[in-house]
């Protein structure tokens, strides 16, 4: 089973990378972009029997730092 974990900085946590990308987009002439936040997507291939609780534990113990990041688990197929 494929699982995708989306990790993003919590609202209010400064994202210097996102800000730099935002400036670069403006430099390329793309207007109308009000904000950019850079996150991370992690794809896992796991046993079909893997439970939601196990996936949550993987996220909280390693894949995301919940002090600064939110995560969302998506079962792909």
């Amino acid at each position: 089973m494929k699982v995708r974990v989306h990790v993003s900085l919590k609202p209010g946590v400064l994202d210097p990378q996102g800000r730099a990308v935002h400036h670069a987009l403006e430099g390329l002439g793309f207007g109308g972009v009000s904000d950019v936040r850079v996150g991370r997507s992690i794809e896992l291939d796991v046993a079909d029997a893997t439970s939601d609780a196990q996936l949550k534990e993987m996220c909280e113990k390693l894949l995301a730092n919940t002090v600064i990041e939110n995560y969302r688990i998506e079962r792909v197929a």
Binding site: V13, L14, P16, Q17
Partner: protein
């Protein structure tokens, strides 16, 4: 007097030798070198140091992989027993990722890697790590980091300040750190994480010796100088 100190080396650590030199300089005894894959620490340790560097190539997040390496279970257990643990730079990142210290270290606000001497104020002397300094003392120690922007939520920051756990503060804006925090203590005061490198300021040839008092103070507090 001497002590039994250990320096942990992770794959990608690069300040472990400097840390060992500093620990030997003040005590005359070479610290025990411990590899990240070891499950156990040597017995009867007086001091544990987590050095700077780029453990595991900063994969995932700085310090995240090292925080779950086998030796960190033993480090956490030792910290829980009261053994002093010092984490410098990447070592600080590892300690926050391992939840031995609150908060997190984000990418520097200005995006740039910062490598220069910074002025710091010693904010508390309620810890053996700063026994060699006076409260309010201003010191200069180099930083060298990309992810040193200390973050914690407001209530955590208030608690840290109220409990005297902000150990060191940047005197000038450095990397975007909340409340200019450069180093924090755990609740018991036996775990210190700091971004500046005291081990790089122990010899006149380094351009300054303000880091020496950290190691001397800790040694004196632990075993009597």
């Amino acid at each position: 007097m001497s002590w039994r100190a250990a320096v942990i080396t992770f794959p990608g650590s690069n300040c472990d030798r400097d840390m060992a030199v500093a620990l030997e300089r003040v005590s005359g005894a070479a610290p025990i070198r411990v590899w990240h894959g070891d499950a156990d620490l040597p017995d009867r340790l007086d001091f544990i140091a987590l050095p700077g560097g780029f453990s595991y190539g900063d994969y995932l997040r700085s310090g995240a992989m090292a925080a779950v390496s086998p030796i960190m279970r033993a480090v956490a257990a030792a910290a829980g027993r009261g053994v002093p643990v010092l984490g410098v730079c990447n070592g600080f990142q590892v300690l926050t990722e391992a939840r031995l210290l609150p908060g997190a270290l984000l990418r520097n606000a200005g995006q740039n890697f910062i490598c220069r001497d910074v002025r710091l104020r010693v904010e508390t002397t309620q810890s053996l790590f700063i026994a060699g300094y006076e409260s309010g003392q201003e010191i200069a120690i180099p930083v060298a980091h990309h992810d040193g922007n200390y973050f914690a939520d407001e209530s955590t920051l208030d608690r840290l300040e109220g409990e005297g756990r902000v150990a060191l503060r940047y005197l000038d804006e450095c990397n975007g750190s909340r409340r200019d925090i450069a180093g924090v203590l755990n609740e018991a005061g036996n775990v210190l994480g700091m971004m500046p490198h005291p081990e790089r300021a122990i010899d006149p040839a380094h351009g300054g010796t303000d880091g020496l008092a950290l190691f001397q103070g800790a040694l004196g507090a632990l075993v009597g100088a």
